[in-house]
């Protein structure tokens, strides 16, 4: 590994993951240490028991009401998050082998599914970015909103670049992640010799930056949405 790769795709990854985990824990602590409101803020009608739990999950994962008032935005947001979940699961394969049946299936469909999801991410992110240059989203937006979208776009574009063009075998990526887990970060010969090595390092660099900023940004809504949606139905 060259020095730049070692620092960015090695040392910095540990820092980023540590900041992500500790940052999220700190953020949760900041919320939970404050007293809950004594006022019940939910709207009526209020579902109870199982129906309530189901409603909270549906509100958070599907947010069907939003589709009623702004269908195009709802569709983009829904597809974006679906694709995000997809690529997240896809990246989990880097950590180890899935059960054999799944491993085979995923391996077969990785190029098509991963490529599709990668494209969905780029398209929806562009849409999110462009709409922020138009009133009233423009006046509503603050630099954080643009920064996060650009950061996400960077990660996704570099990821797509690797997914669609780089001829690096999956086993080589897996080997790299294994070396990270073993605390001896190393690129195997396929990556080291590939012209796409820089693309990979940039992809990892941008992902690191995203991980570091995430716990302190509005992206914590991936946890918080369950909590606030719980309040709405209580």
């Amino acid at each position: 590994m060259d020095a730049f790769s070692f620092w960015v795709a090695g040392v910095m990854v540990y820092v980023a993951v540590a900041v992500l985990v500790l940052g999220l824990a700190w953020r949760l602590y900041q919320w939970r240490r404050l007293a809950a409101s004594p006022m019940r803020l939910g709207i009526f009608p209020k579902p109870r028991g199982g129906a309530k739990a189901l409603r909270i999950v549906a509100d958070t994962l599907v947010f069907p009401q939003a589709a009623e008032v702004n269908a195009p935005l709802w569709l983009a947001v829904f597809l974006f998050h679906l694709a995000l979940l997809g690529v997240f699961v896809g990246h989990l394969r880097l950590l180890g082998r899935f059960p054999e049946f799944l491993e085979v299936k995923m391996s077969e469909s990785a190029h098509l599914a991963g490529g599709t999801m990668g494209i969905v991410l780029v398209v929806t992110l562009f849409y999110f970015l462009i709409r922020r240059f138009k009133s009233p989203s423009k006046e509503l937006s603050v630099p954080e909103d643009y920064l996060l979208l650009i950061l996400l776009l960077g990660v996704v574009v570099m990821g797509d670049h690797l997914r669609l063009f780089a001829e690096i075998p999956f086993s080589a990526y897996r080997q790299y992640v294994a070396s990270l887990l073993a605390l001896r970060p190393e690129f195997g010969p396929e990556i080291a010799a590939s012209p796409y090595k820089t693309a990979l390092v940039v992809h990892v660099l941008l992902a690191n930056l995203l991980f570091i900023y995430l716990p302190f940004s509005k992206l914590v809504h991936f946890i918080g949405a369950f909590l606030t949606n719980g309040i709405r139905r209580s």
């Binding site: 900041q30 919320w31 939970r32 404050l34 007293a35 809950a36 409101s37 004594p38 006022m39 019940r40 803020l41 709207i43 009526f44 009608p45 209020k46 509100d59 958070t60 947010f63 009401q65 939003a66 009623e68 008032v69 702004n70 935005l73 709802w74 947001v77 009133s135 009233p136 989203s137 006046e139 509503l140 937006s141 603050v142 630099p143 954080e144 909103d145 920064l147 302190f216 509005k218 914590v220 809504h221 918080g224 949405a225 909590l227 606030t228 949606n229 309040i231 709405r232 139905r233």
Partner: protein, 433 residues
């Protein structure tokens, strides 16, 4: 940085800090400024003005919070366009907080269920501390508190006025013993009306026909302290009724047809005043629907022939939980009932809530922002719009004129009285009258 703050800034930031709890932090920190709430807001939809986007109203508080309280916001203020608490910010807070009807329709549609009004509540509390509040709301609140302090001065006059209503009550119920008792100890129900005979006589007719064991409150149920956003004063206004109910030992406090008054008594005041009521709080529709079901009052189902629609007041419906009882009453008395679309928790706000109706200089604003409501009513083809909220009724009357809707706006109880069957020479004894 603290040292540079002026005394008034310290005070207002102290208010903000004092209001900090878990929910507030979620609402401040989770909003992604996606702007979906704009599509759910009747004010934005009617005006297209950015400052009326619900999340934009809250964004002012959010940017102050970033500037003074959040670590990253203090470090890199430009990341959040964090802003100083200055005169200009106060102007913006005022504009944001006191032009919202508090309908909470945006909360229904927000993917995170963020309660914008909770954030506006903090904005209002800061403005109250700064003494920058709508004059009308402040005056009405203080007058209500003053009445509570010196009720002995009012008692005789009030009783005399109420006595004056009884001849008509007797005639319309056909019950020689019908009465409107005030402050009667041991009654089962304490009915809290609005100021004015229109809110007392129709309810008294139904209570008498149903043989209810009731008494009338000396206080009006409306609470301008709530609209003002001064929870301390709002609690004092509500306390007048709570003390009266305790002194009389009633089982049930029945709130008249009024959205915010029901919500204040049912859902808010126990928290504000840190107490548990020894009585039940109901909306007037709960006993009335019960009387119908139990056959204690009889109605003519054909009496109202024109098409009727029902407007869910935001504070009674999505914020209060009363949806079905008024509908049950209307269905029993009107042959042609048509729902608005959407309805119940998704109903459009009429544009009159939040104390806006009490501010004369907002009339033009209300006429413009009621457009979606007017279209919604027109689409039902109804001739009568029944709605149980005085603010809604005043606003709908305005919309009726401005949009030439040709409707009659009515309280539900008025329709019920119209349809109630009074047997000639009804022998039923009035409630312990």
């Amino acid at each position: 940085m603290k040292g540079e703050l002026k005394e008034w800034q310290e005070k207002l930031l102290g208010v903000m800090k004092g209001r900090r709890n878990r929910q507030l932090l979620y609402y401040l920190e989770l909003c992604t400024r996606c702007g979906l709430c704009k599509d759910a807001c009747h004010i934005y939809r009617a005006t297209g003005r950015v400052e009326f986007v619900p999340s934009h109203r809250a964004e002012i508080l959010r940017r102050l919070y970033r500037r003074y309280f959040s670590p990253l916001g203090r470090l890199i203020p430009s990341l959040y366009e964090a802003r100083e608490l200055d005169e200009r910010a106060l102007e913006d807070l005022y504009e944001a907080a006191y032009t919202c009807t508090g309908c909470r329709r945006c909360m229904v549609y927000c993917p995170f269920g963020i309660d914008i009004t909770w954030l506006l509540g903090v904005e209002k509390a800061m403005l109250v501390a700064a003494g920058k509040v709508p004059e009308e709301l402040a005056m009405l609140t203080d007058a209500a508190i003053e009445k509570g302090n010196s009720i002995d001065l009012y008692r005789d006059l009030l009783q005399e006025q109420i006595k004056g209503l009884e001849p008509e009550l007797r005639e319309r119920t056909g019950m020689p013993g019908a009465s409107i008792p005030i402050g009667r100890k041991g009654a089962r129900v304490l009915y809290v009306a609005l100021a004015g005979a229109h809110s007392i006589l129709p309810a008294a007719i139904i209570f008498n026909l149903a043989g209810e064991d009731w008494t009338l409150s000396m206080f009006e149920s409306s609470n301008y302290g709530y609209f003002l956003g001064d929870t301390e004063k709002a609690a004092r206004v509500a306390e007048r009724i709570v003390s009266e109910a305790k002194a009389l030992g009633v089982e049930e406090v029945v709130i008249t047809e009024c959205g915010h008054a029901y919500r204040v008594m049912k859902h808010l005041d126990e928290v504000w005043s840190k107490q548990k009521f020894p009585f039940r709080v109901s909306s007037i529709f709960e006993p009335f629907a019960r009387y119908l079901k139990e056959g204690r009052i009889k109605v003519d189902p054909d009496r109202i022939a024109e098409r009727v629609t029902y407007h869910d007041p935001c504070q009674l419906g999505r914020n209060g939980g009363i949806f079905e009882e008024p509908r049950a009453i209307i269905r029993a008395i009107a042959r042609d009932f048509r729902e608005m679309n959407p309805n119940r928790e998704k109903n459009w706000c009429c544009g009159g809530g939040g104390g806006l109706v009490a501010q004369p200089d907002l009339e033009e604003f209300r006429a413009v922002t009621g457009r979606l409501k007017a279209e919604q009513i027109a689409a039902t083809g109804a001739k009568i719009v029944a709605t149980p909220c005085e603010n809604c009724r005043l606003q709908l009357d305005l919309l009726n004129q401005r949009y030439h809707l040709g409707i009659q706006v009515s309280a539900v109880t008025d329709l019920l009285v119209q349809a109630a069957v009074v047997e000639k020479g009804q022998k039923k004894a009035a409630a312990l009258g």
